[in-house]
């Protein structure tokens, strides 16, 4: 049986209970352990848990900035209106063998298919945003769904979290208990003394307490906005499920604990550097690399982005450098 809606093409459930999906010439299917991706010149297998964690970020971030590599073979490139779905495009061996494949789709179409796949393939026991210790299994035959988890709204403050009318603070009452790794993080809020007439205009909040109550990992969310300068802190535990390929310079500020980064050439995957970040460290990720992080304990990381839509074209045309600064 084939099911086709306006944007999503899928089959009926297979013997494991999961539907298969297609986007152009690329097909996706899964069984109890694995996800199978096929395109005209090749095929690829991923563990279902790793695939779903990557898929979750791609959907929630609206394909983020630049390239979201699910692994060394498949992924997406955001063109901000359309999205490339690729296999082997950023893998030197696939490129040389001419086995790579790229298709471009309007963002709503690929997002619709990815969201439907994520919802169908995520059973009730699994939360792709949670750390491995905080979720059940992604494996086995289909067993219910976890729609509430996979459709979480991404926090995007317009000015600053806590400002009246903007994103709210987190608390037990909002369903955000302090994470087990952050029980020692002070929960005191800043003292605010506003003069009469300026209530609501003198604003501050505890970012560290806010982050200690995050119920997701590797999910940058916007907490303060200075024009296109975006503070996107996130809490990190275990492995960044995707390998993020930059289309602009991205900055990391380590707020707490420690994260190890592998840095590779964005286009070929050749290893370039390893970065160890400790509290207070600041580092740039140049615009021509891809990176993946490892966090042994839940850590607070401030990801700092320039959200200007003009940057990818400036860098691609050589009008802006791939390095953050020259000295």
């Amino acid at each position: 049986m084939s099911v086709q809606t306006l944007d999503v093409k899928s089959s009926g459930p297979n013997e494991h209970g999961y539907r298969s999906f297609s986007l152009g010439e690329v097909t996706f299917s899964r069984d109890e352990y694995f996800v199978y991706v096929k395109w005209p010149t090749g095929r690829h297998v991923m563990s279902a848990d790793a695939f779903l964690r990557s898929l979750q970020r791609d959907v929630a971030w609206e394909f983020f900035y630049g390239i979201v590599n699910f692994d060394g073979v498949i992924g997406t490139v955001n063109h901000y209106g359309t999205v490339d779905l690729f296999a082997g495009r950023y893998n030197d061996a696939y490129r040389k063998a001419e086995l790579d494949h790229v298709e471009n789709f309007p963002t709503p179409r690929i997002k619709g298919t990815f969201a439907a796949m994520l919802d169908d393939w995520t059973s009730a026991t699994f939360d792709p945003f949670a750390s491995p210790h905080e979720t059940g299994t992604a494996f086995g035959p289909k067993a219910g769904s976890n729609t509430a988890a996979v459709t979480r709204r991404r926090v995007t403050a317009k000015r600053m979290v806590g400002v009246p009318g903007d994103e709210p603070l987190r608390s037990d009452a909002t369903g955000h208990p302090i994470n087990r790794h952050f029980l020692d993080v002070p929960q005191d809020e800043p003292t605010i003394l506003a003069e009469p007439g300026f209530e609501g205009q003198v604003c501050a909040f505890s970012l560290f307490a806010y982050l200690s109550r995050s119920n997701v990992t590797w999910n940058p969310s916007v907490v303060s906005v200075c024009k296109n300068s975006l503070y996107c802190p996130t809490t990190e535990e275990y492995i960044l499920p995707i390998i993020h390929g930059n289309d602009r310079v991205e900055w990391f500020v380590q707020l707490s604990d420690e994260i190890y980064w592998d840095v590779e050439d964005r286009d070929t995957g050749a290893v370039r550097a390893k970065v160890v970040m400790k509290p207070g460290d600041v580092a740039a990720m140049p615009a021509d690399i891809r990176h993946q992080g490892y966090s042994p304990k839940r850590a607070m990381l401030l990801v700092w982005e320039n959200g200007s839509p003009d940057i990818p074209a400036l860098i691609a045309s050589g009008k802006a450098p791939t390095n953050p600064v020259s000295f």
Binding site: R159, M160, V161, V163, R180, H181, F182, L183, D184, D188, E189, P190, T191, I192, L193, A194, E195, F198, Q201, V202, A204, F205, S206, L207, F208, V223, S224, C226, K227, S229, Y231, W251, V253, Q254, S256, D257, E258, V271, R272, A273, K274, V275, V276, M277, K278, P279, G280, D281, V282, A284, P286, W304, E305, N306, I311, A320, N323, P324, V325, F327
Partner: protein, 166 residues
Amino acid sequence: MTKYVTRFGSLEHYAKGGVEIIDDDPKRYTFSNMFEVAARSKPYEKVAVGKNMQYVLEVLRAEGTSEWRAAAHDEFALVMDGEVEVRLLKLADPSVVPPGKEGSIRLRAEPTGRKMGLVRARRGHLTLLPAGAAYQFHADRPGVILLQTIAGDDTQYRWAEICQTM
């Protein structure tokens, strides 16, 4: 049950990570540590530790009382160490900050205007410095502020001094 300890840095206690180069130039990673930068800075110097086109992250060593400053756009002060009092004042004459001016400007003296209030911020607290308001920092003991802003006339660039180069 494991008891987890969250590690933050401070002026007194910080350990720096680093870049291990396989096939690249370490300068491209612009790697520094804000506590090390603040430890070597004069009070309230605005030292850039991050730059993304016109936008910057500045590290300020909070110690004593700062000058009054104001910007035509919002800025955000994250206290990374110590306790900082942030004093806010609504400028009687907003034109002292030219519209469209990027980065904050130094005000020659305490500006005239209505007091908006103050914030006492400790480690991890993020304070909005609203567009069109003057602000002044005060810290009884040395602390560290990370400022989200736009590069301005007083932004200091010391990349060769603060960043890993080898």
